[in-house]
Symmetry: C2
Subunit: 228 residues, 2 copies
DNA sequence: GGCGATATTGCCTTGTTTGCAATATTGCGC
DNA sequence: GCGCAATATTGCAAACAAGGCAATATCGCC
């Protein structure tokens, strides 16, 4: 999980050196150093997540997490500003994984449809293990409200990126135009509702996708009252 | 600000005793004790808010806030679990102020329209001072990301109450039906978008109401792409 | 192989959180 | 009014967390 993609930093500098090696599709082009950083990041997050599952959030200390990840407590603080952040980071999706796809899809479909498509694809292609992890996180968030804030913060970040993407694409300004806000919010609301209902249903990944599409469809239809 | 309304607790008990005194419209019917609690709650929140405006969030300590509100630091912790919570609590609207109205409006209009109406009325009837306070909070949230989490948490609470109200009214189950989730989320998204654009616009309360209604209209219309 | 950049760590200070027990205040029946 | 029960407030203390700073270790690159 947490496979990362890195922003291309123009053509600056590295050009000569790397044209020799294979310019891999989603390769970092950023040294081994950065890679190791990601690894410790993930190691800490994993440790936090696992220990929380085992012992409950408030019986886990930063010191313990750090020991588990084989770093100093001080290093923990260099990566995360709280236990909660670490736990949530380990269990949830990395927005960088579908944002590029969303930007591409925007070229071909209206935003709402594009996002629906991208998210559906994304979740349809997740492994059992990844989905399990999402379920576990949902459970933890329900059990510990303090995690909720961390998660909501994470969602807010994704929403902001979606908003920017939409604003950029439609040529509207997120400072004065409402559409990007509503669009991004509708997307995240669909995702969140689908995830929670899916978790409650106890069914498989295909049901999650159904729920997602249902949510998007309701938004497209102007949120008709179900009963009538 | 923060005028509270209390749930009517049926006809239990107090009947005899209070029929003598005036059964005030939004009166607590809950002793002086409860009232004082609200007062210290507000006093602490006010202190937190004002000090943060003056000195910046991270130059304010709980001890200081407590002194300002004339309570012990320990008492602060009895009311709020963090500075952030206190600050946000002081600056933002109390959901109890429009939830009852929303429940009533649900009897007469479809949910989306009902919520739009209730929120419009609510903000239209706010004083300059109250609106100023909202603006100040928006500014603070922008300046200090850690406040954002507190605010989002507060919004989440309101959203949950909206959701329950909608689920209850439409007879749907929030555990299995998606409509209440989407409906509540759309409402809060409209509110948030309207507030932020309004803050950026620097215009008056009537513009906020316009923005609110615009947002709700876009949702009703199925979020059409603006350009075409 | 050495140098510059940067990641990691330890130390330390300040602030936060929470349980517990003591104290003060309030509501209410008499 | 008076006193009792309920509960709000406080002080104390211990455990934990956050973050600046400087020393050290490690990496990438020439």
């Amino acid at each position: 999980m947490q496979t990362r993609q890195y922003r291309r930093i123009g053509e600056i500098g590295y050009g000569m050196a790397m044209s020799a090696t294979e310019t891999a599709v989603d390769a970092p082009e950023i040294g081994l150093r950065e890679l190791k950083k990601q690894m410790t990041h993930d190691a800490i997050a994993q440790a936090a997540f696992r220990l929380t599952l085992e012992k409950g959030l408030d019986h886990v200390t930063i010191e313990e997490i750090a020991r588990e990840a084989i770093v100093s407590p001080r290093t923990f603080s260099n990566y995360f500003s709280s236990k909660e952040e670490a736990v949530v980071s380990a269990g949830s999706e990395d927005p960088q994984e579908f944002l590029p796809a969303f930007r591409e899809a925007l070229e071909q479909e209206p935003p709402l449809r594009a996002l629906c498509q991208v998210l559906s694809d994304f979740y349809a292609s997740r492994t059992e293990e990844q989905l399990d992890r999402s379920l576990q996180l949902l459970g933890l968030v329900e059990r510990y409200p303090s995690l909720l804030q961390g998660q909501v913060g994470r969602f807010a970040t994704i929403e902001a990126e979606l908003r920017d993407a939409v604003a950029e694409h439609t040529g509207t300004d997120a400072e004065t135009d409402m559409y990007p806000w509503l669009m991004a919010a509708a997307g995240m609301a669909s995702l969140q509702a689908a995830l929670r209902l899916w978790a409650a249903s106890g069914r498989g990944a295909d049901h999650l996708v159904e729920l997602l599409q249902d949510a998007f469809n309701q938004f497209s239809a102007g949120l008709p009252v179900p009963g009538r």
